[in-house]
Amino acid sequence: MPKEAIVRTIGVKKSFMLGKVPLHVLKGIDLEILKGEYISIMGPSGSGKTTLFNMIGGLDKPSEGKVYIDEVDIAQLDAYELAWLRCRKIGYIFQTFNLIPVMSALENVMLPMIFGGLSTDDAREKAKALLETVGLGHRVNHKPFELSGGQQQRVAIARALANDPAIILADEPTGNLDLKTGKEIINLLREMNKEKGVSIITATHDLKMLDVSDRVIWIRDGMIERVEDRENITIKVGEVEGEEAG
């Protein structure tokens, strides 16, 4: 049985107005991401990576074309439904962690569950368990500024998993971390991906990410340059920086 697509984009175009000149950031992206896949979107800065990423995450709507998340066309959704989608279907991880600074690790993880309608007690139990899973069981009551970058990102991963989303979107999750911590975070994401079957989509230019990805989507100038499967990736890791045409 073929696997179900969790995200589909059909001819997605996006342009912004730069003063009076339209800037075409995405020039027609067709993409299908399956349930449980680990996808890396790679590309130089300015390639439209982040814009595509926002589109998939329901943070932005395309100028043209369609984006389906779990078979729902996001262009059709009103503000309430979009918020619901973000709350229940998608978990976000950011380069800058973006934990709420005034809340403890535990409360940060509880927040999306509270929004989702869980009672405080249930949310607390589940948040504790999640923090345990990401290896922070001993630091639940610490504030973000009392945690290291890697630990903050772990809290963010726990928070992203709070409502058992179908997709986790990670925007440069290792961008602010050193090599070793970055690797740990990538491995943790991979683990969660295997354990919980959640699709993980990362936008990155961290080549360490290639190792764990099921597929790598290369973006250049608002187009998909190439899509590589896992089998081909391992061979290419060594030459990836010199290689132009693929």
């Binding site: 503000a79 309430y80 973000r86």
Partner: protein, 212 residues
């Protein structure tokens, strides 16, 4: 393509909202103090004028004859000027609140964006800001009232001595106090409406990327 229905509820229970805005005020204490001070000063001025009036009226009704005549003479003229001054000061205080709250919104834009990514509805964000402002309003108004009453009582004590204690118009002052607290709280919430609206309309992707 058949559209799946989205029907589940999103919620932010009041208890959690209060907890969150309280936490916010504690951590960003400096800003909370500035906003509260703005209301405090406006209301203190209003209350001191009202208390002064209450004393004057009380003196006219219950005081000795010579004071009565003295006070009656300029009471009308003073009143119009007072209205202007008080209105102006309250206006300034409201503008101050709008300004401080707008800055607070900018400062917190990343936090707001994050919350929206986690599923916060626009109205949750508005609710948080209004709750905060409500607290500022209540605390600032009560403190302002007490300061206003106290100052005026001291001023009248110096001017008229122990007579003031005898004719202290407690009922009137309490009534004015209640009105002032209501007005101060109302102004604080009104001042926060626009900033709260601005914050709730932020696009999450943009709000997160904005560097402050």
């Amino acid at each position: 393509m058949e559209q799946k229905k989205i029907e589940k509820q999103l919620s932010l229970p009041l208890k959690n909202a209060i907890q969150m805005s309280f936490r916010n005020m504690r951590v960003r204490f400096g800003r909370a103090i500035i906003i509260t001070m703005s209301i405090l000063l406006g209301i203190a001025f209003l209350m001191s004028v009202l208390t002064g009036n209450a004393f004057t009226m009380s003196l006219i009704h219950k005081g000795p004859e010579e004071i009565k005549v003295l006070l009656m003479a300029d009471i009308l003229e003073v009143k119009t000027r007072q209205v202007w001054l008080v209105s102006l000061s309250l206006l300034v205080c409201t503008v101050g609140i709008v300004n401080a709250m707008l800055m607070s919104v900018t400062e917190r834009s990343r936090e707001i964006g994050t919350m929206k990514c986690l599923g916060a509805l626009d109205k949750f964000i508005v609710e948080l800001f209004l709750l905060e402002s409500l607290a500022h309003g209540i605390v600032g108004s009560i403190a302002g009232c007490l300061i206003g009453i106290l100052t005026m009582t001291v001023v009248y004590l110096i001017q008229y001595g122990g007579l003031i204690i005898k004719i202290f118009p407690l009922g009137v002052i309490l009534k004015y106090m209640l009105l002032s607290i209501l007005l101060g709280t109302f102004l604080a919430v009104i001042g926060a409406l626009y900033p709260a609206y601005v914050s709730s309309k932020m696009e999450p992707a943009e709000a997160i990327r904005r560097e402050v």
